[in-house]
């Protein structure tokens, strides 16, 4: 009896997942929060300045970059900027935002950044990330 019940539950779960995956994908393949994001890096002599911008589809409670990782050319993270502890990374009650952060590293080293964006309001949130070119 238990085995039969387990089998039935497994089959129902499988069917549900199989059928819901495309539906979820179709719904999820767009954003109700973010319209676009962009980021670029500039610098040289061991310094990298990351400039980023984000536009939302309506006014957001939190908008901007939640985190920016500065990485060496080999992919090793050397610095992480968090919005909670770095000013100028997010704003509130806005439909757009742009900001920048600067990192001074080792001269002769190449760096790039990964910018993690967030748009959040009372209904939920969405995220994106952009990897800049090496400078």
């Amino acid at each position: 009896m238990t085995k039969r019940l387990t089998k039935i539950i497994a089959i129902v779960l499988m069917l549900t997942l199989c059928l819901s995956a495309p539906a979820m994908a179709a719904d999820a393949r767009s954003s109700d929060y973010i319209r676009s994001v962009s980021a670029g890096a500039s610098g040289g002599s061991g310094t990298i300045t990351v400039s980023f911008s984000i536009t939302a589809k309506r006014s957001m409670n939190t908008l901007g970059a939640s985190m920016i990782e500065i990485k060496k050319a080999n992919g090793v993270t050397v610095k992480t900027f968090h919005a909670a502890s770095t000013s100028g990374m997010t704003t509130s009650s806005a439909t757009s935002f742009r900001g920048s952060v600067t990192y001074s590293g080792t001269s002769g080293e190449q760096y790039y950044a990964v910018v993690y964006f967030i748009a959040k309001d009372s209904t939920g949130y969405d995220t994106d990330s952009v990897t800049t070119a090496k400078v």
């Binding site: 499988m14 954003s31 500039s42 589809k57 439909t95 757009s96």
Partner: protein
């Protein structure tokens, strides 16, 4: 009366017994209510290897059994039962883990195959909510400048502050339309300036309909950008020599193009209005 958990243990235990103890055990086993024939056979087999040893009186055998063997058997039974229970529990846990792993594997494979069949990003649904983007990169050498005609163009009254904001930043290219639908009012204007460029954002609203203008410039060699989109492929719409990428995203139509290092977006919740606006950009 099954007190031995395996043949090996059984043999080992019986070998360790003295002949007297063995006799006592045989005597007790045969007189036990719940006779275990296998166990008795094992005892007799072992006893058979010890022929020539004088037998013992049944009373003495019983006495010895009560004294020495019974306590050992009781503790042995307890330990064996515990061992058996632990083994069974281990087996049950292994079986349960195997069933769960099988169900998860079946779900993943089944879902993956279905997703493949309908060409959707199954794993993206879980790990990145299956989002789609139109990604772009702008390099300084990609600069494409439109004709400098803005001064001769009369933009709609509603767009004049936007035109002024662009001109204040040295942008005189024709980035603005001459057409603007009636009834829309300014919802918000946001302008950001820093040493790395600027961003100008104007939002207009009429009831539930919105139109947004977004011009941003990053003073860097390479800009990487993402535009949110649904699963409809971007459409290229060419007017007056400019390729506009038309992207749909959750009920919004967005036209994106670049002018030098300036990224330009115009979005509208109304598709026809968006095309009319684009048609009027010189």
């Amino acid at each position: 009366m099954a007190g031995i958990s395996s043949d090996h243990e059984e043999r080992f235990t019986l070998k360790a017994l003295t002949t007297v103890e063995l006799e006592a055990l045989i005597s007790a086993t045969t007189s036990h209510d719940d006779l275990d024939l296998d166990y008795l056979n094992a005892l007799l087999d072992e006893y058979g290897t010890r022929e020539g040893v004088p037998s013992m009186a049944p009373e003495r055998a019983q006495e010895l059994f009560d004294e020495r063997i019974l306590p050992l058997m009781q503790s042995g039974n307890k330990a064996t039962k515990l061992r058996n229970r632990a083994t069974k529990s281990r087996r049950r846990r292994t079986l349960r883990a195997f069933i769960i792993a099988s169900v998860i594997a079946a779900l993943l494979i089944g879902g993956g195959l279905t997703a493949l069949a309908v060409r959707t990003d199954f794993f993206g649904v879980f790990f990145k909510m299956g989002k789609e983007h139109m990604a772009f990169r702008m390099y300084s050498e990609d600069a494409v400048t439109t004709s400098d005609v803005s001064e001769s163009i009369e933009v709609a009254e509603e767009l004049k502050p936007l035109q002024e904001a662009l001109e204040e930043r040295g942008i005189t290219d024709s980035l603005l339309p001459t057409y603007f639908p009636e009834g829309y009012e300014v919802l918000s204007t946001e302008i950001y300036d820093d040493e790395l460029g600027f961003g100008i954002y104007f939002d207009f609203q009429k009831d539930d309909e919105t139109i947004s203008f977004n011009y941003s410039w990053h003073a860097v060699d390479t800009v990487v950008g993402l535009v949110e989109k649904d699963d409809t492929a971007p459409l290229i719409y060419n007017v007056n020599g400019i390729d506009y990428r038309i992207i749909t995203n959750a009920g919004e139509y967005l036209a994106m193009w670049t002018c030098g290092k300036i990224t330009c977006y115009i979005s509208s919740t109304h598709e026809e209005i968006l095309y009319e606006i684009l048609d009027s950009i010189p």
